[in-house]
């Protein structure tokens, strides 16, 4: 029995590393290709097994958990009671920075979770090293700062200030003033592509490559002012939420959005993406929190409640915040999100942003009176990969990593909704010609639509009955004309095809000259 369980567990793990199904070798006729592919599949299986074994035995850190007994609910546990149970080092991660005068705070973490940059609305910027809890730089820019985001390193961050966006050094030196972005409301950084993207007061999206300084894309969203901008880490697609309840997804190379979804009946207030790439959480003013499946574009769960800010953790927990109330939802085995933990802040505190810290069980909260950080057991990925993000990296490692990441910088054209399509063959879909009855149906529908168009009543004798009927007839003729033209084209094509006759109609002497392409 035990052996069964162990092997099942290993199988599940192996599936995770296999990245999809193997090739279908049965239907191949080419023996050489079949042999080569079989060899490759064998190697893939071996490497997946080795990775699964490494995960089982070689992981150094255990993940966090909160196990209630029996009738207890996990959300009954307060931060105080958790603090009493954990070790001193972890208790350090729970802190409250009281900064009452400088406005609601927003924050960002580096990808390794070691450094945090925070910005108060009234212009206070700080970078804090979370391992030593010392501020690296603390400065006042004397302008409103609406958003702040780290670039690829803790050495660079961008702050969206009153009129322009500025890029600063770790030492606080202003490196660049990005005037083209305008008055930015939200910033996002695409790590793999080195693109700094922003949405400004007019609802314009900008993508700028920070390695060359070139503006890659500059698009009008067309949906008005929006202050919700979120990046989907799975495929690097930017999503913005608008006041009509629509959520639109953008990539840097097309001026029109990839997807426009109507998510809510009121303005969208927050969006968040699950790291696996196919779950999206949106919150709107219609007091609903919806969890969407992005493969089918349908809502799999609707929860009641307002949310000013949403964030998914590395393990899939969802943190929401409204007013001074923060709650964390976790998905049980049935994939339904339910309340996991709550944290009520003191009465006057308005939470501005919640953000999970990578590789730690910590939730950072930026609110109107400063910054807080609370422990959420089980939310962070315990084992980091040194070559992806290393919280303990030395300066030499950091420099090497910067060079390697720059070498692997992805071109902006590689952003697509399904990132696994790169390297695949394009499906050549044959355009199906609509059948005759379908064309007739379309024509009838167009004529009905043309008939039902209400004509404006004009004054001063310009809407005589004869004129009205003539105008109506013209509308109907116009609708019919487009179909007649289509038919004519098809007719011409048919005639052209007719000319190249098939072999049986020709005399025997001319049969060899029939063009091979049509037969």
């Amino acid at each position: 029995m035990e052996i069964h369980d162990v092997s099942d567990e290993l199988e599940i793990k192996v599936k995770k590393y296999q990245r999809g199904e193997g090739a279908d070798l049965e239907s191949l006729k080419d023996k050489k290709l079949k042999g080569q592919l079989a060899n490759k599949e064998d190697l893939f299986k071996k490497s997946a097994n080795a990775a699964a074994k490494a995960e089982k035995w070689l992981m150094q850190t255990e993940e966090g958990r909160l196990e209630p007994d029996g009738l207890e609910k996990t959300w009954r546990f307060s931060q105080q009671s958790i603090a009493n149970e954990v070790d001193v080092a972890s208790r350090k991660n729970q802190f409250d920075l009281v900064l009452p005068d400088l406005g609601p705070y927003t924050l960002d973490y580096t990808s390794s979770g070691r450094y945090m940059v925070s910005a108060g609305r009234k212009g206070h910027l700080t970078i804090i090293d979370l391992h030593t809890l010392k501020p690296i730089k603390d400065m006042q820019v004397r302008e409103t700062v609406r958003d702040v985001v780290f670039l690829h390193n803790e050495f660079f961050f961008a702050a969206a200030q009153k009129k322009y966006t500025y890029i600063y050094n770790r030492a606080g030196t202003e490196l660049h003033c990005l005037k083209e972005h305008g008055a930015v409301l939200k910033l996002q950084f695409l790590k793999n592509h080195f693109l700094l993207s922003s949405i400004n007061k007019f609802g314009h999206l900008h993508y700028q490559d920070i390695t060359t300084g070139q503006m890659i894309g500059n698009y009008r969203s067309g949906l008005g002012r929006s202050d919700v901008l979120q990046l989907n880490p799975y495929n690097s697609v930017l999503t913005s939420g608008h006041s009509g309840g629509t959520v639109s997804m953008w990539k840097p190379t097309t001026p029109a959005p990839l997807v426009k979804m109507l998510c809510h009946r009121g303005p969208v207030t927050a969006i968040a993406f699950h790291p696996n790439g196919h779950l999206m959480a949106t919150a709107g003013m219609d007091k609903k929190l919806k969890i969407w499946d992005l493969r089918k574009y349908e809502a799999i769960q609707t929860l009641p409640g307002l949310a000013k800010s949403l964030d998914f953790s590395q393990k899939g927990m969802l943190a929401t915040s409204t007013g001074s109330f923060v709650q964390v939802l976790a998905a049980s085995d049935s994939q339904e999100y339910s309340r996991y933990m709550i944290h009520t802040m003191a009465k006057g505190y308005q939470v501005n942003k919640v953000l999970f810290r990578p590789y730690e069980d910590v939730l950072g909260i930026g609110h109107s009176n400063g910054l807080s950080s609370i422990l959420i057991p089980g939310s962070g990925e315990p084992n980091f990969d040194s070559w992806v993000a290393n919280p303990y990296e030395t300066s030499k490692q950091r420099r090497e990593k910067e060079v390697r990441v720059l070498l692997d910088k992805l071109p902006p054209e590689s952003i697509m909704l399904d990132p696994t399509q790169i390297g695949n063959l394009r499906n050549t879909k044959k355009k199906e010609k609509p059948k005759q009855h379908e064309i007739e149906a379309e024509k009838a529908a167009a004529i009905v639509a043309a008939k039902n168009v209400p004509l404006k009543k004009k004054t001063k004798g310009r809407s005589k009955p004869s004129k009205v009927t003539r105008k109506k007839q013209e509308g109907i003729e116009l609708a019919k004309r487009s179909f007649v033209e289509q038919n004519k084209e098809d007719g011409v094509m048919k005639k052209k095809q007719k000319r190249t006759t098939d072999a049986s109609e020709l005399p025997v002497a001319l049969q060899p000259f029939v063009s091979r392409k049509t037969t």
């Binding site: 149970e85 991660n93 790439g277 980091f384 990132p419």
Partner: protein, 499 residues
């Protein structure tokens, strides 16, 4: 005390009485705690809060090194979730690897200068990696040291052009034959660096015979060697006359090669456009294949000894299976002029050809087109090529009296490679191969600069071939169906096979 008490003052905590403690087993608790709390109703009740809480906690010394001369610690997590867009990253790496390949592609290492006439043949010593023998049209035979590209010693003696060179199995005797109707045997100095020039007489023997010789080859395991001239003669080292001879037809035999696997089988090519396979154990030749054009040279595949490739006058190389000569296994087309010489790599996976059109090409053993082309302005007609015994270098001897040393893989790093470097090279190779079919990567990998005459000649050949094909189609269309059969290119060039 038996019932659970709900404390209304602290809604976030749930308390249980002492009775329920006994139910919990101690091994379940990782952070098992109980603490007393003051109470409702003036009664002292022991309330316990049981929970199991664990938070990620790392200690810095597990992840940082202890001393400065330790290696840095690396912890890995292979989870694909941590690496979004990994296919795009791989594609970018493949593109960069292809570009770096081209940046580092410098195949020419050096030229060995010394001969004063065109080089007619090269021989390699199977037991000594660093040395190579070359012979020129004025009778000058030299032994070169490849590493320093200098002549080690010379073997003067031949009166006319030296047509063939070969080394015996044990690597001690060099056999040469020439158009002065002699076969000479020379002693090869030991590899331990004896650089004496004329200290001792290196000539072991000189055998004079009736006709001029065109080629010579030594058995791979044995003491016999074969010469090609008016007929095929089999000699023994110690006999001054051939021990055996083979003849089929009246034409001269141009080249001869022994089979690496079967020491008694040899293949020859003649000026009557034939390829003949002989077996020494029988007194009559085994098989003959007549083609449309003359074969200049033959090479057996050392890893698959039943296959051989013939370098033909009509710019193609034909690979045959010796057991089934009616159809070529593969036609290798890329040269624009006659292919003069061919040699297989010891891996059996590629071969190098030298052609009259001043280029050296490297083909895959089963590939229709060349993988690589080497050319230089100074290199004129290439008459002989050899693949070095460690499959890393290609040596070409040409009309301009120089031997040239090339790398087999143009962007390979020579010298000692550290293990990390080697792993990186292997990774780049693997990622390049995974995406080599995508158009951008393919364009970069395929790109070669061709000299203008070769490029133009290639275009011309293609136009001519297309025109020929079109005319063939029209002829077929104008005649009765089935009267002009379709012949595959593999069979097309073969006229007949004779038993």
């Amino acid at each position: 005390m038996a019932s659970p008490v709900w404390d209304n003052h602290l809604p976030t905590q749930l308390c249980f009485t002492t009775e329920r403690i006994g139910v919990f087993q101690p091994f379940l608790a990782t952070a098992y705690s109980a603490f007393h709390q003051n109470v409702v109703d003036n009664r002292l009740q022991i309330k316990l809060i049981i929970m199991r809480v664990k938070v990620i906690s790392r200690s810095a010394d597990e992840f940082t090194r202890e001393r400065s001369n330790d290696l840095q610690r690396v912890s890995r997590n292979y989870d694909p979730k941590l690496r979004p867009q990994e296919k795009a990253v791989e594609y970018v790496r493949a593109l960069n690897a292809a570009k770096l390949d081209k940046v580092f592609a410098r195949p020419f290492i050096g030229a060995m200068d010394g001969h004063i006439d065109a080089i007619s043949s090269i021989a390699k010593n199977p037991s000594h990696l660093k040395g190579i023998f070359s012979a020129s049209m004025d009778g000058d035979i030299r032994l070169w040291d490849i590493a320093s590209r200098k002549t080690v010693c010379q073997y003067p003696g031949h009166q006319g052009a030296v047509r063939g060179l070969t080394v015996s199995t044990d690597g001690r005797v060099l056999v040469s034959c020439g158009s002065d109707c002699t076969v000479r045997l020379w002693r090869i100095p030991l590899a331990s660096g004896i650089e004496s020039d004329d200290s001792s007489d290196k000539s072991l023997a000189t055998y004079v015979w009736k006709n001029a010789f065109w080629a010579v080859d030594h058995q791979w395991e044995g003491n016999l060697f074969a010469t090609a001239g008016a007929q095929v003669d089999i000699w023994d080292h110690n006999r001054s006359q051939p021990v055996n001879n083979f003849e089929w037809g009246n034409d001269t035999v141009i080249s001869v090669r022994f089979n690496p696997g079967e020491p008694n089988i040899l293949a020859t090519s003649g000026s009557d456009r034939s390829i003949t396979i002989y077996d020494l154990r029988t007194s009559s030749p085994a098989r003959k294949l007549i083609m449309r054009t003359k074969t200049n040279s033959i090479a057996w595949n050392p890893m698959e000894p039943m296959n051989f490739t013939a370098a033909n006058e009509n710019c193609n190389c034909y690979s045959f299976d010796a057991r089934k000569l009616e159809e070529a296994k593969c036609v290798h087309k890329d040269h624009v002029s006659a292919v003069m010489d061919i040699d297989y790599s010891p891996t059996g996976r590629e071969f190098v050809t030298g052609s009259y059109d001043r280029t050296v090409r490297i083909f895959q053993y089963n590939g229709g087109h060349s993988r690589e082309i080497y050319h230089t302005k100074r290199m004129q007609r290439v008459f002989c090529v050899k693949f070095s015994c460690d499959a890393s270098y290609v040596i070409s001897g040409s009309d301009d009296t120089n031997l040239r040393l090339w790398k087999a893989k143009a962007s390979e790093q020579l010298g000692v490679i550290l293990p990390r470097e080697r792993k990186k090279h292997e990774y780049m190779e693997a990622v390049k191969n995974r995406y080599k079919h995508l158009p951008e990567v393919k364009r970069i990998l395929r790109h070669r600069h061709l000299p203008k005459p070769i490029y133009k000649a290639g275009l011309l050949r293609r136009t001519m071939a297309d025109a020929e094909k079109r005319k063939e189609e029209r002829r077929r269309a104008h005649s009765a169906p089935g009267s002009i059969p379709r012949r595959s290119l593999r069979k097309n060039r073969i006229i007949q096979e004779i038993e």
